[in-house]
């Protein structure tokens, strides 16, 4: 069995994906920044100024991690899903399949690039946010770690989506039907104790709820759930994605005829 790792191959894929991103950098960056700015204007400034503090945190600052999570999930998923879907669509996948690259190189290349793109956009959004609201980051190192982990997890998820999709509709339908509702219902704009029952209980089966709260804790020191649980759920999600990808490549599902 061939076992050595083709690091140059992984790097080549990653680099190619990033170059593709920068080729269309204007669109890739402007649209999430614009969207988030609109949220900040509406929820942060307009509505937020009339809202009470949430657990001692001004509402504007309270929603920063939630909005960041919203963008992070959407961008990671779409970057990674398009990244792997495009070569399938154009047929350029032939090269990947005929090259000495395996699962590891492919995933590092595509998922790594998608996650990096999300991190770049996250940084830009955090800077943009300072224009609208005052906020601070209580645990910067943990916040960074958390953002990286979530970017990686959802880039993996997007990669799976891109592998599975056999049309452009499928690429957009999952984010629209699943991700957006889960994010909005996952405590982006509110604390769980602002919800009436049964919503307050229901929200706890929403995985995004744990992601938002984990990230919020690193920003504000506040979380609706124990931080260990939030981190645990995030790690479990990463593990699930990795395992599924390994299985898909083993069986050659939808890639190799």
């Amino acid at each position: 069995m061939s076992s050595y790792m083709n690091w140059r191959g992984a790097y080549a894929i990653l680099r190619n994906e990033l170059l593709r991103f920068f080729r269309t950098a204007f669109g890739s960056i402007v649209s999430p920044v614009l969207t988030t700015s609109l949220y900040f204007i509406v929820f942060g400034s307009a509505i937020g100024s009339r809202m009470a503090e949430v657990n001692g945190v001004p509402y504007g600052a309270f929603i920063v991690p939630g909005l960041l999570m919203l963008t992070l999930l959407a961008e990671s998923t779409s970057n990674a899903s398009f990244g792997i879907y495009m070569p399938k669509f154009t047929g350029a996948i032939y090269e990947l399949l005929s090259a000495p690259v395996g699962v590891a190189e492919t995933v590092i290349g595509f998922v790594g690039a998608a996650a990096l793109k999300s991190l770049i956009i996250s940084a830009i959004i955090l800077v943009t946010a300072t224009l609208f609201v005052d906020y601070s980051i209580a645990h910067p190192v943990l916040a960074l770690g958390y953002i990286v982990l979530v970017a990686a997890a959802f880039s993996l998820f997007g990669f799976l989506l891109g592998l599975w999709a056999d049309g452009f509709e499928k690429l957009s339908i999952i984010p629209m039907l699943v991700l957006t509702p889960l994010t909005f219902l996952g405590g982006t704009f509110y604390s769980v104790d602002m919800l009436d029952e049964p919503w307050g209980t229901l929200v706890q089966v929403n995985p995004v709820f744990y992601l938002v709260n984990g990230l919020r804790w690193t920003f504000t020191g506040q979380s609706d759930v124990p931080i260990a649980l939030a981190f645990g759920m995030t790690l479990a999600f990463v593990a699930l994605c990795v395992a599924t990808i390994a299985w898909i490549f083993k069986t050659g599902w939808r890639l190799r005829e």
């Binding site: 061939s2 083709n6 140059r8 000495p100 690259v101």
Partner: protein, 315 residues
């Protein structure tokens, strides 16, 4: 005989839908040769290449390249093989040179701008290196695909229908490129459904139809065996018999003697030459004719012929 560069044994592929694209193919390719896989659409050429290059999971048989099993030693093997697919499939919005660099990196080699320049120059792409691929003509796009496949200096190169849908001039140009590769010592396996192409390019030819290799032989032997020319001379006045001076040619009369039919020659152009000689001779003999129609045998005719031969052998 030196160790073959590629050794395929009993290769089978049945697609999920149930189509049996390869039915136990045996094929041995020698190092340094140009091998043409000749067969009509749907014969299994692309599947055969796909199975060797890692695009298709075979359902039976074995493939050894460079003496290594392509499944067990897939990394080593793939690093030494290049593939130019049938379709122009690449990121059309990217620049030429970037795509070629990308291919080299993907195959695990460190960047080498001098080598990239050499490849692009050899394919006359150097002036277009910063152009977006989608802006190039079809022929140039195909060269980009070749440049990508050559970026890692493969020892074995697959060209899947390199000239399908390409005009005559570009086809000749492609043949020149392939010749240049041969000169470098690259072993080349190309697929085609043009007899002329196999004839022009290959050292050896394998004929494949419906997932089976019908025969493999040196090009000249195959061409002599395969092709034929048919010519119809429409005569001004009917002949009762073939005149004696024409007796040496494979001729017969049709349409009550008003049509003189030639059927002969081989795939090396001998038929065309004979028809030309025949026309001269008819003029000399003052046998007036009002028209000539000639037709070279098609691949289909050849397959029908080969299959008939096989059935006779079997019977």
């Amino acid at each position: 005989m030196p160790e073959p560069i590629l050794d395929i044994r009993g290769l089978e592929k049945t697609y999920k839908g149930g189509v049996q694209a390869l039915k136990g193919v045996d094929l041995t390719i020698r190092r340094g040769e140009i091998f043409a896989l000749l067969g009509p659409n749907g014969a299994g050429k692309t599947t055969l290449i796909g199975a060797t290059c890692g695009l298709v999971n075979p359902t039976g048989g074995s493939i050894e390249a460079f003496g290594l099993d392509t499944r067990k030693h897939w990394r080593e093997v793939r690093a030494r093989i290049g593939l130019v697919p049938q379709e122009l499939a690449t990121d059309m919005f990217d620049k030429v040179i970037r795509q070629v660099r990308y291919s080299r990196g993907m195959f695990g080699l460190k960047p080498d701008e001098a080598r990239i320049e050499e490849v692009l120059k050899a394919l006359s792409l150097w002036d277009k290196r910063d152009a977006a691929i989608r802006e190039l003509s079809g022929g140039m796009k195909r060269r980009v695909m070749i440049a990508k496949a050559l970026a890692h200096d493969p020892e074995l190169l697959f060209l899947d229908e390199p000239t399908a849908g390409v005009d005559v001039e570009l086809r000749r140009d492609m043949w020149k490129q392939i010749d240049a590769l041969r000169a470098r010592g690259t072993t080349i396996i190309l697929t085609t459904h043009y007899i002329e192409e196999a004839q022009e390019m290959a050292d050896r030819v394998g004929v494949i139809n419906k997932g089976e290799i019908l025969l493999v032989d040196d090009k000249d032997a195959i061409m002599a065996q395969l092709g034929s020319t048919e010519a119809h001379f429409t005569l001004e006045s009917a002949l009762a018999d073939i005149p004696a001076p024409l007796a040496q040619y494979p001729l017969h009369l049709e349409d009550d003697g008003k049509r003189l039919v030639y059927r002969g020659g081989d795939g090396t152009g001998a038929g065309k030459r004979e028809v030309a000689d025949l026309a001269k001779l008819l003029v000399q003999q003052q046998i007036a004719f009002t028209g000539i129609e000639t037709r070279e045998s098609t691949l289909e005719d050849i397959f029908v012929g080969l299959l008939e031969d096989r059935q006779e052998v079997a019977a």
